[in-house]
Every structure is written in structure tokens, then in C-alpha cells.
């Protein structure tokens, strides 16, 4: 703890956590029931999401207000940095689980099944050639075509990389207190994020309609859609965060010296970017 402030801001008692938890009570039961096609679930889910959005809106609003009113000293700022760093680390580990699954299926289990087929003449489901992309040995998986890396995915790579540049420009602008440039670059980044999501959505439609590539297309479909899907979900979150930050910028929040709200989102955006590079290489290219 640095000596300068001597006082660390500890927020007053708050109702947000208990509101947030009640949201999860609805979401938890709602999701479990929905999965089992029990009508009640949808209603619970809707209530849960409504409460969650309310909570996020109010909670983050409070944080922004506290920040703007100068309550956060340099120690709090450092805490946010550590917190965001470790949060991103946890996200990395979440993706690591799915990358691990991709590695395992592609490098181990699919070849094992193919080997079994070779040795025994068949697997429990008949002959299986293996290779990648693979559906798996059971014959009820329909054939599909692989996603071509050099079409939309390459474009999306360019889009995301560019957005990493634009948000850096925005950051420079903020540090030099060029507010107009800041807002413009923020808008550009958001636009690129939205564009990325649009392309991704189009790609999914293309996969389902033209390639017959679906979530239930065996090993390839599972890993393809889960990895790109969770990434897309994170881009969505990132874009929402960017929009929030844009409005805060537009409202004159942040100073050239103190703007961790901005930086945290920028870090997150870079993280999403890096995950995409991993996806592009391991899911699309190789």
C-alpha cells in the first residue's frame, strides 16, 4: 500500500450483490428447467436476466460515479489493475479447457478410434477413417464441408487486428487529451467489433445452410462451434463494454492521467483479439 493516500476507499454497504445473487437464483433454476423443456424455465430465465441487467447497470453506474467523484486513490487504481489482470487470466484458462479438448480430440481420440477401426476392422459403429475434420465413427453423423480459413475468417482476423489498432489510437488520444479523436477512434473500434460479429453470424448461417456443418456434427462441429461461439460471446461482451466506455468518453469521463475504466476494457479487447488469433490458427488454418 503506497503511502500517499493513507486511505483506501471501502464502499458503503450495498444491495447490488444480493440483487445479483437473486438474479443467479432465477438464472440457475431457469436454465436447468429450460434444458429439460419445462415451461416455467423460460419465465425464470427472463426474470433472471432482467434482474442481472438491472444490477449491472446500477452497479457499474455507481462505480463510474465513484470514480468520477475522485473516491478512488492510486491504491484503488492499482487494485483494479491487479483485479483485471487476474480476471483475464481466468478467462484464458476457460478457453484453455476448450483448446485442450480440441487438441485431445484431434491429436488423440480421433486417431485412436481410427486405429481401432484399422486393427479390428471396425469400431463399435463400423469402419472409421479418422482424419480431420472428423465427424466420428457413428454413421448417423452427416457429411459436412470444412470452413475455409481464407474466406470470412481471414477477413475477420483483419477486422479484429485493425480494431486492436484503433483502440490503441483511442488510448493515445485520451492520453493527449484529444477528446474528439478519442470519441472517433472509439466509434471505429465499436464499428469493427459489430462488423466482426456480423461476419461471424453470417458465417454460422453459411455453415448451417451451405456446409451442413452443425454443432452436432461430431468432433469437428463440437469444437468449432464451442470455441468460436464462446469467442463470439466474449466479443459481444467486449463490444458492450466498449459502448459503455464510449458513452462515458462522450460524457467527458476519464482524464489523461486516470482512466482505468478505459484501459481495463482495452485490455479485455486485446485479450479477445489474441484468443481469436489462436482460433484462427488452430481451428481454421491447421
Amino acid at each position: 500500500m503506497s503511502q500517499d493516500s493513507g486511505h483506501y476507499y471501502v464502499p458503503a454497504p450495498s444491495t447490488y450483490p444480493i440483487i445479483g445473487s437473486s438474479a443467479l437464483l432465477f438464472l440457475g433454476f431457469g436454465a436447468a428447467l429450460t434444458m429439460n423443456k419445462i415451461e416455467l424455465g423460460y419465465g425464470l430465465l427472463a426474470i433472471g436476466f432482467a434482474i442481472l441487467f438491472y444490477m449491472c447497470f446500477r452497479w457499474f453506474g455507481t462505480v463510474a460515479a465513484e470514480s468520477e467523484s475522485g473516491k478512488y486513490g492510486s491504491d484503488v487504481d492499482k487494485s483494479f489493475r491487479w483485479g483485471m489482470t487476474w480476471f483475464i487470466f481466468s478467462e484464458v484458462m476457460f478457453f484453455a479447457a476448450f483448446f485442450g479438448a480440441l487438441y485431445y480430440m484431434r491429436v488423440l481420440s480421433v486417431p485412436w478410434l481410427a486405429e481401432e477401426s484399422e486393427v479390428l476392422g471396425q469400431t463399435a459403429w463400423g469402419a472409421f477413417a479418422g482424419g480431420w475434420p472428423a465427424t466420428g465413427p457413428a454413421d448417423h453423423y452427416e457429411a459436412f464441408e470444412e470452413m475455409n480459413a481464407w474466406g470470412l475468417p481471414a477477413l475477420n482476423t483483419a477486422i479484429l487486428l485493425t480494431s486492436g489498432v484503433t483502440i490503441t489510437f483511442a488510448h493515445w488520444a485520451l492520453k493527449e487529451n484529444r477528446r474528439d479523436a478519442l470519441n472517433k477512434w472509439m466509434l471505429a473500434t465499436i464499428a469493427l467489433g459489430v462488423l466482426f460479429l456480423g461476419c461471424q453470424g453470417y458465417e454460422y448461417v453459411h455453415a448451417y445452410n451451405d456446409l451442413n456443418l452443425r454443432l452436432d456434427s461430431g468432433a469437428y462441429g463440437s469444437t468449432f462451434f464451442m470455441l468460436t461461439g464462446f469467442h463470439g460471446f466474449h466479443v459481444t461482451l467486449g463490444t458492450i463494454m466498449l459502448i459503455v466506455i464510449y458513452f462515458r468518453c462522450a460524457a467527458g469521463h476519464f482524464t489523461p492521467e486516470k482512466h482505468f475504466g478505459f484501459e481495463g476494457v482495452a485490455w479485455y479487447w486485446h485479450f479477445v483479439d489474441v484468443v481469436w488469433l489462436g482460433l484462427f490458427i488452430f481451428v481454421y488454418l491447421l
Binding site: E116, L120, A124, W125, A138, H140, D216
Partner: protein, 314 residues
Amino acid sequence: MHPFSEIETGIKNCNNHVGENMKIKSVATLMGMSALAFYSSMAVGSKYNFPEPQSVIAQDIYDQHIVLLWICLAIFVGVFGVMFYSILKHRKSLGYKAANFHHSTTVEIIWTVIPCLILVVMALPATKTVIAMKDTSSPDMTIKATGYQWMWGYDYLEGEGEGISFYSKLATPMAQIENREAKGDNYLLEVDNNLVVPVGKKVRVILTANDVIHAWWVPALGVKQDAIPGFIRDVWFAADNPGIYRGQCAELCGKDHGFMPIVVEVLEEEAYAQWAAEKLAASSGASQVASANIEMIADASEAIEAAEENSENN
């Protein structure tokens, strides 16, 4: 931060107590004796230990376990001999004044290195056994065991008795389980059809499962292997003596996981040959067995597909 003078006094303090060595020894002897008594009680019945080993691997496992037990016991007596000596003598209520040492690189290095050496001693024989148990090559016969919820299916694939195929199910009546009848001797460890094998022959067991993971385990033969749906695993054993060896499914597989035992009946070679011949004759001709076999496979894959659709529809 760590003044060395203090460490030295600490070590000197330790030395002052070497005279107490005798007492440590007597404590150690006492503990060693009780350990010995405990050990000999263990040797009495297999109730306190692994069942009597009936294969080379099982014997290796048995011996290694005993050796490890002794090593652990020795370390245990050593560590807690010191600790309890200290607890008895170095107490405030006896007016003992605390020393102030808190660090000694030498001692710390020693007690890092010694455990390493002990571990090497433990790992060497284990490594050999692992390599031996993994070697399923050139078997005398091959049997496929398939786990079902909740029974085992056996297909004799290669070697004498090739073509035999049957299911093996718990034979204990429900009435015994539900306490309506007195429990028999082999309560829960008896099946309708034993897996029969010849003595001394290297039997390779290929394992797979039809629905969920099961595990094929016969303690006396030193084999346990998970049966994984869709994949094939194998193990081997060669039984030393004729006899009946009982085991159980060792992977939670649902409601009746506790009720799918494994019984291996080991026969002398001639007896086995006779059994195999009778079994084959009983299913009146190899061709029918083969077609029955195919049917079974078809059944199995239908069942798997059904199960999948089930999970898809869930």
C-alpha cells in the same frame, strides 16, 4: 534478516541433547515393537491385506505394498519419535525455556535430499512392474469383456474356446439383498456364468463397454482396467493356481454398480478343454454361434444408437 549467530546457537542447543539419544531409542524400539505386533496380526488373514496373490503381477504388487508399508512406518516412527519426544520434554509446564533458532540450510537440504532418495527406491521396482503389466503381447488366448448396465458380456476371441460367448450376471437373489432371506457365503460375489480360463496361460482381456464406464477387477489376479464405451483397452493375467477368484465392477456405473461382480474360474488345462468343448457343443455348432455373435454385435450397436438418440433427445 537471518542472523547466523542464532542458527549456530540453535544447532548447539540441539547437540546438547544428544545425551537423550538413549530415550529416543527406547521410544523407537517401543513403537517398532508395536508396529511388528500390528504387522504380524496383518499376516493372519487376508482380511487386513490384499487377498493372496495368484499371479506374478499380483505377487509383485503385494510385495511392493509390504515394502512401502515398512518404509512409511519407519519414516513415521522417525518423525513422530522426534516430535513426541519434544512434546514430552520441551513443554512450558516443565519450565523448559524456548530456544530461538529458526533456520539451518544444511538441515533443510538434508531433509529434502533424503526423501528424494527414498522415493527413488520406491519407484524402481514399481517401474518394472508397470512395464510388465502393460505388456499384453503374445497371449495364449484373448477374451473380450464388455460392460453393460449391469452385467458383463464375455466373447472368447482367440485361443482354445474361440467362439464361446455369454453374459455373466449377479446370481444373488433379491430376497437376500432385501434382507428377506439369510445371506449366502458368496453374497454379492456370485454370478450365473463364471468366466472360465485355463491355469498358467497368458490370458489377454480386451475391455470395452456398451453404455457407461465400468471397470473389470479381480484382486487376486492383480488386474483392474476401466471399460470405456467406444474404446478398447486390454490387460493380461496368467493365473498361478486353479480356483475361483472373485472381483467386482470398480467404476461407478449407476444404480446397480454394487451388483455386477466378476467371477473367474481357473481350471486345469484338461478340465478347461472339456469345459470349452461342452460349451461350444451346447450352442450346437460354430456357425450358429457366429451368427448369434453377429446378432449380438448388431444388438449392441442398436443399443448404443438408442442410447445416443436418448441423450440427444434429452
